[in-house]
Amino acid sequence: MHKLSTKKAFIAYFAFGWLLLIVADRVDELRVYQGATIAVTTLAIASIILLTGYSGQVSLGQGAFLAVGAYAAALSQTYWQSPFWFTLLIAILVSAAFGFILAFAAGRMSGPYLAGTTLALAVGLPTLANQFSFLGGETGLVYDAGLPPERFGEEFTLYKWFFWIAAFVVLIAMFLLRNLLNSRFGRTWKALRANSTAASLCGVNVAQSKITAFTISAGVAGLAGALLGMVSIVAPSAFPLSLSFTIITGAILAGVTSLLGSMLGAVILVVIPEIADVIAHQLGDSEKITTNLPGFIVSVLLILTVLFSPNGPAEAMRKRKEQHAKH
């Protein structure tokens, strides 16, 4: 596939960001809120793409890293009165440190062991909030990005402000991630994923590379968590096990090896509940159907994707092109 140069990519990201701002001005409040959710989800999915699609490790508990990031950000705001941008930095650092420790302990794990361990983490971590009173229990912590600056005018709503922040941060993070994945690190991870024995014979330090990938992925997830905390709340209920599953699903749906796919995955995840609402309405609005239909659709899509296009649409297209070229 033809890759854009860094400069061109920067211009593309910038133009896309500008487009988002213009669009955000023209749509209603709900759409702006959904836009913010899409931005946050995109970043969370990107952390999985880095981890699973590139370094070949699977994490079923990415929600736990989101929680760590969100709590770190909220705590630093509550107890140190840190400015908002600094809380985001704290979220990245703490979450990455947490990921590093875990990766160090779990460094020798692969496949199902890592999957199960991260799953246990996602189940267990949110319960800690009830154990320590400074974590705020079920109600959680207060975390906000402050009001939008006054010069934007009266009509500038809070959600639009959230969207601006989320979109801005996510675009920067995605741009940096893109460069990272195109760099030596990205190539090393791909080599690892394809064949770790061959990679180690070529001089790649397998354990170290895997730990690096896990750490960076945790940091990215932590940033996504802080943004999620800003848009919704910082409480155990915001980081259930289903959040981790949702993130994985988004990554697989859009093709786990393409960073840009993460945006597609996030859009699908936000659109599905809307579609499910319409279908549930057709089926007579029973409460059982309405609450369970979104999860059902997402899970069915997940299975179908794994069965028929496991590497995502992007990879399938590339394969077809290669076959085409051979003839």
């Binding site: 699609g53 999860g295 059902f296 899970s299």
Partner: protein, 298 residues
């Protein structure tokens, strides 16, 4: 002293149920090299079936029978329809190694949402066949009930039947051979395909019994067995993920550990403790208490 004995007894009860779930996971892992996260989903379906029968007829054993049969059928169905399709389609690419994990995860989601659509997401209580009230001995309450005795007895019986099948019958020999060396087993005339399905059937049965036994002490909801899944996995890893006796031992060790934390520390620290136990097991006993010397790679 009284509290200590109570803790041990509760630990044994919990542990025997975790053992059953761990057994289910190990059986599937040995037959197809997949950690079946959908095991909790399969078990929740069979538990709801048992729930319907208990509320309608009041006969607990009939409910267990139905749950076991349903568990066996579900296990076979999942292996035959999902896993075989999966292995036929997915053979290369970056996701190939992760595909089974993700597929079982998707299946868990499908089953849970279907169960939610049929029975709703509200909590139900599952009436036990015998009392779950604690015994009173010399005027003091011991945190142990008739139902707990029933749990321990029935899991022991299940374990004995399982180990008889695995150690003393031709079927058990084929199962072990197919798990140990599929290619050689095939050359020795074992039809590895059907044997794999049978591994899933046994796993389905073990999971179904675990679900029916843990629910009367708990509540029933589409997500109520997720925790059992995590504990079962940890127990299986403690035991080595390859070994059936290891799974049982891992379950009992974990059950007693959880019971101690419950009684002496508090409910909120259970999950962190289990997680730390899992990490310690992976760091210090990476092959499990009873696992083989083989390096863990998937």
């Amino acid at each position: 002293m009284r509290q200590l004995i109570g803790t041990l007894l509760i630990g044994l009860t919990l542990g025997s149920i975790y053992s059953l779930m761990a057994l289910a996971l190990v059986l599937v892992w040995r037959s197809t090299r997949v950690v079946n996260f959908a095991q909790a989903g399969q078990a929740i379906v069979t538990t709801y079936i048992a729930y319907e029968i208990v509320t309608r007829t009041g006969v607990f054993w009939l409910a267990v029978l139905f749950a076991v049969v349903a568990g066996a059928l579900l296990g076979a169905g999942v292996e035959y329809f999902l896993m075989r399709t999966l292995f036929r389609h997915v053979d290369e690419g970056p996701v190939a190694a992760l595909a089974p994990v993700i597929a079982t995860l998707g299946l868990l989601g499908v089953i849970k949402s279907l169960v939610g659509m049929i029975w709703g997401n509200d909590f139900r209580s599952f009436y036990p066949p015998v009392s779950t009230d604690n015994f009173v001995l010399f005027g003091e309450t011991i945190p142990f009930s008739r139902f707990n005795i029933l749990v321990i007895l029935s899991t022991t019986v299940v374990m004995i039947i399982f180990s008889f099948i695995f150690q003393r019958t031709d079927l058990g020999l084929s199962l072990r051979a197919a798990a140990f060396q599929p290619e050689i087993a095939r050359l020795a005339g074992i039809r590895v395909g059907p044997i794999r399905t049978i591994g899933w059937v046994f796993a389905g049965v073990a999971g179904a019994i675990a679900g029916v036994l843990i629910t009367p002490n708990d509540v029933l909801s589409p997500a109520s067995l997720d925790v059992l899944l995590v504990f079962g996995f940890v127990a299986a890893v403690i035991g080595g993920l390859e070994s059936l006796p290891g799974a049982v031992l891992g379950g009992v060790v974990l059950g007693i550990g959880v019971s101690f934390v419950l009684n002496y520390v508090g409910t909120t620290l259970i999950f962190p403790t289990v997680f730390v136990v899992l990490l310690l097991a992976l760091i210090f006993k990476p092959n499990g208490l009873l696992g083989s010397k083989k390096v863990r790679s998937a």
